[in-house]
């Protein structure tokens, strides 16, 4: 299991995180606080980690709010509140007298009233997050809460609960509620959502990912490859035309190239021969590990293409073998 790794903070990341944090803090105080008490949320510390690592690390009883994301990006994000925070926030919303709250916290049980009240806190915070994300990113992102009222880890949380099969950006912060011990608040966002929202590629401390340049005319296949290869060690650059391979191959950190050519017919047409010779003549491509194939590639016609001087030609399937090839290659 991959260990948590700190995300290198940039001005854009800091600014985005601060605005989200300020929005939440303001909303919590608007909703819940009295004049003489202020709820404080500390700055987010952003980490990247697999969800398994997060689940293994959290020990305190927590309540999870699931948030569906729709329209421009489809996925889910998750919010973990420590049980006591959830009870306190719900109680503040219900304006429960302090003595009753203290009594409740002596033996914290997340009863139906707490669930209803905290569900409403979560719903309103989700609304704030929805507004913040849409305003900050200018993207048509729509968030909607799904609150299932369970207490974790008392009620086991399974990996299949987490919709996006990728690493998560974990925004960890402290929540300080007056007269209460400081507690943790964690927001888990799929890495791809975080990157889409900020329009950036995040960088990780101590990790310099290898770039993999790919082309196929099959968009679904390109998406599949991106899903399986985009991780903390490799990053896929997908291009929609073969010519773009030639223009982008010179950039630093390109570690491998994958090309699924349009179906070739043999004997080769003049047009296909010109394309293959252009690729063969590209010095950068000839020096990099490459995986070049096409639908129906056979040993016989591969030999014919190799005669044109093109390296990396294989009968391997782009959809089934390429990702495995890259993973084996990048591990070495």
């Amino acid at each position: 299991m991959e260990k948590p790794v700190r995300i290198i903070s940039t001005e854009k990341i800091r600014s985005f995180n601060d605005k989200v944090r300020n929005g939440l803090e303001h909303a919590l105080n608007f909703m819940l606080a009295t004049e003489d008490s202020k709820i404080e949320i500390s700055q987010f510390e952003p980490f990247l980690m697999p969800v398994e690592a997060y689940l293994k690390a959290y020990k305190k009883k927590s309540i999870m709010i699931k948030i569906y994301c729709g329209r421009a990006y489809v996925g889910e994000l998750y919010w973990f509140f420590e049980l006591n925070s959830a009870i306190i926030l719900g109680s503040l919303l219900r304006m429960l007298p302090i003595s009753a709250l203290e009594e409740k916290l002596r033996d914290p049980v997340f009863d139906a009233t707490d669930q209803d009240a905290f569900g409403e806190v979560g719903n309103q915070l989700c609304g704030i997050l929805d507004r913040a994300f849409r305003t900050l990113t200018k993207k048509d992102i729509h968030l909607k809460m799904d609150f299932n009222k369970a207490v974790y880890p008392d009620e086991a949380l399974e990996l299949k609960t987490f919709k996006n099969h990728e690493e998560y950006v974990v925004l960890l912060c402290d929540i300080k509620i007056p007269k209460q011990p400081t507690q943790k608040l964690t927001l888990l966002l799929p890495r791809s959502l975080y990157e889409v929202m900020l329009n950036i590629e995040i960088s990780l401390e101590g990790i310099d990912p290898k770039l993999v340049l790919i082309h196929s005319q099959n968009e679904e296949r390109m998406e599949q490859i991106q899903t399986s290869l985009n991780n903390r060690y490799t990053k896929v650059i997908a291009v929609s035309a073969v010519d773009e391979i030639i223009t982008k191959i010179d950039q630093p950190r390109i570690a491998a190239v994958g090309i699924e050519l349009p179906k070739l017919n043999f004997p080769l047409s003049v047009q296909d021969s010109i394309l293959l010779k252009r690729l063969a003549a590209n010095r950068a491509l000839s020096k990099l590990p490459s995986f070049i194939t096409w639908e129906g590639a056979s040993i016989v016609n591969i030999e014919e293409v190799k005669k044109l001087g093109l390296a990396g030609v294989t009968e391997g399937s782009f959809s089934e073998d390429f990702a495995r090839w890259v993973l084996a290659f990048t591990k070495n």
Binding site: A117, G119, Q124
Partner: protein
């Protein structure tokens, strides 16, 4: 004046009622409904002057509720109270027949602003 407050969350109904009081509607009679079906029953019983309804509710959404009410009572004022703030969602509520929208969390003045035009 009878105000029907529709929300599946009892906490939220309590907050809406408190806001009504703070906004100066102390003398209004508040009727509560924890869902659309109950709301329709209470409207059918008669005497409801204004509806304040949540949007995201289980079983029947607030938007569906507005459509059903509108089909029978074109003039009954309906104000939506919601966390939904996107222009698309607001448009959907208004197209369904809502007269106004209050976005949560809200100060009592928002309540006055939304209800004012419908209270003589």
């Amino acid at each position: 004046m009878n105000i029907l407050v529709v929300d599946d969350s009892s906490t939220m109904r309590m907050i809406v009622i408190k806001s009504l009081r703070q906004a100066g509607y102390e003398s209004a009679t508040v009727i509560e409904a924890s869902g659309a079906k109950e709301a329709l029953q209470k409207i059918a019983a008669g005497g409801v002057d204004i509806v304040l309804s949540d949007v995201n509710m289980p079983e029947i959404s607030g938007i569906e509720l507005v459509k059903v009410i509108r089909a029978k009572m074109p003039k009954l004022p309906i104000i939506m109270i919601t966390t939904e703030s996107s222009p698309e969602m607001k448009q959907e509520m208004l197209s369904a027949g809502a007269n106004g929208i209050i976005t949560k969390p809200f100060p009592p003045e928002e309540m006055t602003k939304a209800l004012g035009p419908f209270i003589k």
